[in-house]
Symmetry: C2
Subunit: 467 residues, 2 copies
């Protein structure tokens, strides 16, 4: 790597080398995991490059190829598996200046990768009353490209499944890292080569996604005496085909009272488990009836709240998904979490009973391959790495899928195995292997056993259901 020559060749493309800024931009939310925190705390790039146009991205990649400089792309750095940690140093490719909306149609939008998700929705709502099908809980920070390269679903997955499910992405524009970088327009199954590949095999600079009708979503919080009741209610709410909900998340006591500080005034006591929901306005009356029918305690509905009260509250999705853990970490820095999937309520209840207060339950109801399932993000009151591994083993031995959020490689984390398409594409798109190095095991170890894994979260092609 010849960083001096690399930098000189960039011309007036903005770079930053102030150590504190470089270190800050070399960080994502890897510190969610005590293991990753220890492993990655000394990782840093040497330079941050912030191209302003797609042509400048091409120049950066051609130059990096020429001088053998590792390139780790970065949106807002909100991933929490170390997706954007520059394991081999080199440069951070900051893409937040690529934030233009290319086109908005009634049913789709095309935009550059660096646009912040909330800003994207603001424009599509104004233009065609449309919004993204789903977004992560980091909606107000995360970028479109970062979500596609490093995320898998989120708020809205109860309706639309995962980001990689067929039909949820329309096109991705990718730039390769070669002597002469190519600009590729990927559509159909080809998109799965780079979606959720952490930028290891091409830089996503533009994406086209479908829109659905926008709603002024109403935040609803319901209390229950036990987490088991909350989970049972959540499953039944998810099954109501006519009830337009964007989010359904049960969280076990005492987390809501202890952690959701601005929502605490609405929670009766520490013993109350809650279900967090987002409902379209026409669904609210039916949801309220449904809550009464299930003897839930309607703690909060933002549509009838005084504006002053409402403005004090963060959106309820910022209590859900990875934000649940984030809020916990601020108050109890020693906790961590897992990512799991339970096929039915019996498995959820088994986990609740088996681990008790060591693993307080937090679920997200999602659609997965046409079925409603329980995605788990249970909190772990962490003691040792050995115990964490043991908890994972006990889950797996009882038929519960675990997607380990304490690993930074594609194979060991959410994907559970190497995607051969992604590996093959990396050979073409990144022949020197300098894009986000170290994240794809199979690249570094050609003898890696492709079949070691057991399951994918929001898998791609597999959901096509071929025989």
């Amino acid at each position: 790597m010849d960083l001096t020559a690399f930098r000189a060749a960039l011309g007036d493309i903005p770079v930053q080398d102030h150590p504190r800024i470089v270190q800050q931009k070399s960080r994502d939310h890897y510190w969610y995991s005590p293991r990753l925190k220890a492993e990655l705390e000394n990782v840093t790039a040497q330079l941050v490059v912030t191209p302003r146009t797609q042509d400048e991205v091409k120049i950066v990649l051609a130059t990096a190829y020429k001088y053998g400089v590792p390139v780790t792309p970065r949106g807002a750095g909100t991933g929490n598996y170390g997706q954007a940690m520059p394991l081999s140093g080199g440069v951070m490719l900051e893409l937040t200046s690529l934030d233009r909306v290319v086109s908005i149609k009634r049913d789709r939008v095309r935009a550059e990768a660096g646009i912040i998700l909330e800003k994207l929705d603001e424009q599509t709502k104004a233009a065609v009353n449309g919004e993204m099908r789903f977004h992560p809980s980091t909606y107000r920070m995360a970028t479109l490209g970062g979500f596609i390269a490093g995320g898998s679903g989120g708020v809205g997955s109860i309706r639309w499944g995962g980001l990689r499910a067929f039909g949820n992405l329309l096109a991705l524009k990718v730039i390769t890292c070669e002597a002469q970088p190519r600009v590729l327009e990927l559509t159909g199954p080809d998109m799965l080569k780079v979606a959720h590949a952490y930028g290891t095999n091409g830089i996503i600079v533009e994406a086209e996604i479908p829109l659905c009708e926008a709603h002024d979503w109403v935040d609803v919080m319901v209390g229950f005496d036990s987490i088991q009741q909350a989970c049972a209610f959540a499953e039944q709410a998810a099954r109501q085909d006519g009830l337009l909900l964007k989010e359904i998340s049960p969280v076990a006591a005492p987390l809501p009272y202890d952690w959701f500080n601005r929502h605490r005034p609405y929670i009766k006591n520490r013993e109350q488990s809650v279900v967090l929901l987002m409902a379209a306005p026409p669904a609210v009356p039916a949801l309220v009836d449904f809550i009464a029918f299930h003897k839930g305690d309607l703690l909060l509905r933002t549509d009838t709240l005084a504006e002053g009260e409402r403005k004090k509250l963060p959106p309820i999705y910022e209590l859900a998904w990875n934000h649940t853990t984030l809020r916990g970490l601020k108050i109890e820095p020693t906790i961590t979490y897992l990512q799991t999937q339970y096929r039915d309520l019996a498995h959820v209840n088994w986990a609740i009973e088996n681990f008790g207060e060591e693993v307080p339950m937090h679920l997200e109801m999602i659609r997965f391959d046409g079925q409603i399932v329980f995605a788990g993000l249970p909190i772990v009151r962490y003691t040792t790495e050995e115990r964490l591994e043991e908890i994972i083993r006990i889950h797996e031995a009882n038929g519960i899928l675990v997607f380990n959020p304490h690993r930074y490689t594609l194979e060991e984390g959410g994907m559970k195995k190497t995607d051969r398409n992604q590996l093959d594409f990396k050979k073409q798109a990144d022949p020197r292997g300098i894009l986000n190095p170290g994240k794809m095991i199979a690249w570094d170890d050609p003898n890696f056993d492709f079949d070691i894994g057991r399951a994918w979260l929001f898998e791609g092609l597999k959901t096509l259901g071929a025989a």
Copy 2:
């Protein structure tokens, strides 16, 4: 019943008594069923009354109450279980002049009961780019009130479940049949008192329903060598959470070639089974990939068809749901059909193999209580009523639900049992029992066994999933 006094008391409310017109308006599509055709062919009212306003409906009902005149409400008469057949004579209450749109908001519409569904959508599309969540295959003829009073779901049920599922109706305005008719605004679970009650316990004069985003739906037809392959493809397509489809219907060979005359040029041969689909424009590329992946034969997609060709074709939903049978009846008048529900593909395949050419398969993929299931409308090559009953018994003995479309009562048809709420409401709203007489067994036979039935299609409160 004093019809002369009744008529005199109506003032200038339009009536018709020409025998041919009265007979024509005394008919629905009961002739789908050979049994109903024989039972009901001599049924007729004596008078047709066509109120122009809701106040006139009140006058008609007060007057009918006073003189004991049976009142059978009618929209477009497209029901095919005899829902709108005036079993006790009297008057047909034709509601098609109540066709005003009351209000359109971004996410909902309120309209009078007599508006034709297609006309309603035209207005909501123009105003807010919204459309009804679902509609019957008689979309271009049927009325809003008729659909709610006599229907249960249809095109769009793959996404939104049934009409009676929680959240699919927002409010119903109902007029009772009493000395002083009351105008009731029903919301929440109260709506289930009159939804799918055939107008036996109140006249629906206005409805408020949620809207979803409108699309220029693309009709797609896919060919397969066997109906089993078609059904397997249909199930997998339904499971694609990211693929926005409004209709998925497998139809067994040789029905498509023999019956879909204007689509015949696109079908390879008599041996080809097909799947009929409606896809939102952004879903079409992914659907085309998906079809190739499943080795389907893409026979038709209307988005790439020359306009002249496209205009020759009826919308594909007019090949589906009850229109499949309707088209068959025009060509093979001796056929009839069943309504079934199969819990999985194994049950579908069992039915296909067990009955062979006597019961050619026609399915509709739907969501039911949060799950994707197979709603069956299999064709029956009818021989005798005894054999038809035997076919039903064999289905039921093998764990397949049958909703008998050869019965005109609520209990014996789709509902499979008396809805106590509907019966109780009839006692209040129709104390003389003159609204659509003969359709609710429990009204005429108070000793009727409420628990005789086994299942409801698109059940109402039961899907609330209470313990």
